[in-house]
Symmetry: C2
Subunit: 327 residues, 2 copies
């Protein structure tokens, strides 16, 4: 199993992708090929110990930054780390691609270079979010806007296959994100999607609402990518505001610091459960080969967990299952 | 100033609407007419002391429950508390209407009975949410799905007028909720809306994202009601999950209870700032007379604050301002 890692993508590149990747070589036994500027990667690798036969480098002269227009950049920058990595995946020089870089560029590379599975109308970005009932999937989390009902149904099918394979949930429940629980609620898109969902080969539980995101009512939450992106960022933003606030309360005085000591164990355990770094990255579902988008702010631990997830993505044959179920 | 309160609507009716209303009579000097079953209201009023000339009752034989189809119920149940109250507002038997009941029914009553301001295409439900930078407005929070660009622009204008009048913000900033900050980001609706927003008589600051909801980047967040409803409920759901979790951490053992004592003051102050009950209800903006939707789970304090807000809604002449600016 060889994992292709875009060593240049993300806020903490190249340190985090390389540290996390090397840790995965040592602890999970995978092979890794790092894609990016050879001298930079070589330099960074010197900090780590690993079996040298399991790590290689593929040179890419440039990179696509977060500010570039994705599709245009993918078309024009053939020597960027994301494009080189996507071509390697396509050509079988690795089993799965992981990048913490420009989300749009990775999606465009997935679509234009790796290619769609036959029958998949639009591949989707699927994010695994923490909830009161464990990790749940939000799909689409931002790859597609102005979706059609057929897109949402495919998101439900692909999400179910992934949650079964990678998260070991036997019959994942699928909810349709709407503005009310009752069947009649929704906008034009969700109202048209509802009856199609009921006919689809999934464990459909009906409409869900925003409050179900953190309650964890459904294993797979299907929605348009505009809505999914807004949900994802609302949750992240709220997490960061609450986190800052709690920190400031706890460090207010000597007394609050003492109080914090007593509750720190519980707080830490809660934070761990709510930590995006525990859940790896966001798989792109619907491409011919597995592509995973790691969080832009990923540290070594987040990259390591994303590689573990990438390994499971390949081993469980998710792609073959999607091919089998979508037509 | 006379406030019309639907005494039968909400999870805690009739106790909370009546207790909160009576408190407003005593502390704010408003007149109140409670609408609902006379004997039930009379019985409840016995628990309270107030100047009798400032409180009256308007009889309504039935009510519209949360499970009824709103528009149909408003058309058929002429003797329900919401319909009676809306007719009183229309006929000038009160200055503002407050209900904690069925949201859809109140919206339908606002539209069908109270009526739209000339030029307002679709009245919107505007919710005031807490944020790191104080209360901010989310408009539309669920009244309208499948909006047109012109609707969103009007939401921005009406929201600005309200935030200036009721929240005393001199030049409220308006953000367009999207899936990215850059001008080119968005779905078809927001991309078409962006240039219109820039031409509108508002302090438009461009696209905002989900993370800006809790950060409080814009005073007015304009969006389609489907998206607004999902945001609102996502925030509420996350608040409730985090609240439950913190409570369980603090009550875990004698030691954590002791620790909780030391940080309780800070936690309480934070909770107060994040408490929807502090911010009153959600105004319906765009109707000929002021209508406010109180939270379904409102207690006495939330109702009291909603009446205070209703008073300001009337006194600051928001409706005249909307008439002046929309055409």
């Amino acid at each position: 199993m060889k994992v292709i890692i875009d060593a240049m993508g993300g806020d903490n590149a190249p340190q985090a992708p390389i540290a996390g990747g090397v840790r995965a070589v040592n602890e999970l036994g995978v092979d890794i090929v790092f894609v990016g500027k050879t001298d930079i990667i070589k330099n960074e690798l010197k900090k780590h110990a690993y079996p040298s036969e399991k790590v290689s480098i593929a040179h890419a002269e440039t990179l696509i930054s977060n500010h570039e227009e994705p599709a245009k950049a993918v078309r024009s920058k053939k020597d960027s780390s994301i494009v080189v990595a996507a071509n390697m995946l396509k050509n079988g020089e690795g089993d799965v691609l992981l990048s913490m870089g420009n989300t749009g560029a990775l999606l465009a590379a997935g679509l234009l270079i790796v290619g769609r599975i036959k029958g998949v109308l639009r591949p989707a970005l699927a994010t695994v979010l923490p909830s009161a009932k464990g990790p749940k999937m939000l799909i689409d989390a931002g790859a597609n806007t102005n979706c059609k009902p057929e897109n949402l149904v495919q998101f439900g099918i692909m999400g179910s296959i992934y949650m079964k394979g990678v998260m070991d949930i036997e019959k994942p429940t699928v909810g349709l994100m709407s503005n009310g629980e009752e069947e009649g609620k929704g906008d034009e898109l969700t109202k048209e999607t509802f009856p199609l969902m009921r006919e689809a080969p999934i464990n459909f539980i009906g409409n869900i609402e925003g409050r179900d995101v953190m309650e964890g009512t459904a294993d797979v939450m299907a929605c348009d990518g505009f809505v999914g992106n807004v949900i994802l960022k609302t949750v992240e933003g709220m997490g960061s505001v609450v986190g800052r606030e709690v920190k400031s309360i706890f460090t207010g005085s000597l007394l609050t610091k003492l109080g914090a000591l007593f509750v720190m164990k519980g707080i830490k355990s809660f934070r761990k459960r709510m930590d995006y770094r525990e859940y790896g990255g966001a798989p792109l579902l619907g491409t011919k080969k597995p592509v995973i988008k790691g969080h832009g702010s990923s540290d070594e631990k987040a990259v390591f967990n994303a590689v573990r997830q990438a390994k499971k993505f390949v081993e469980t044959g998710i792609i073959d299952e999607i091919v089998k179920h979508i037509n």
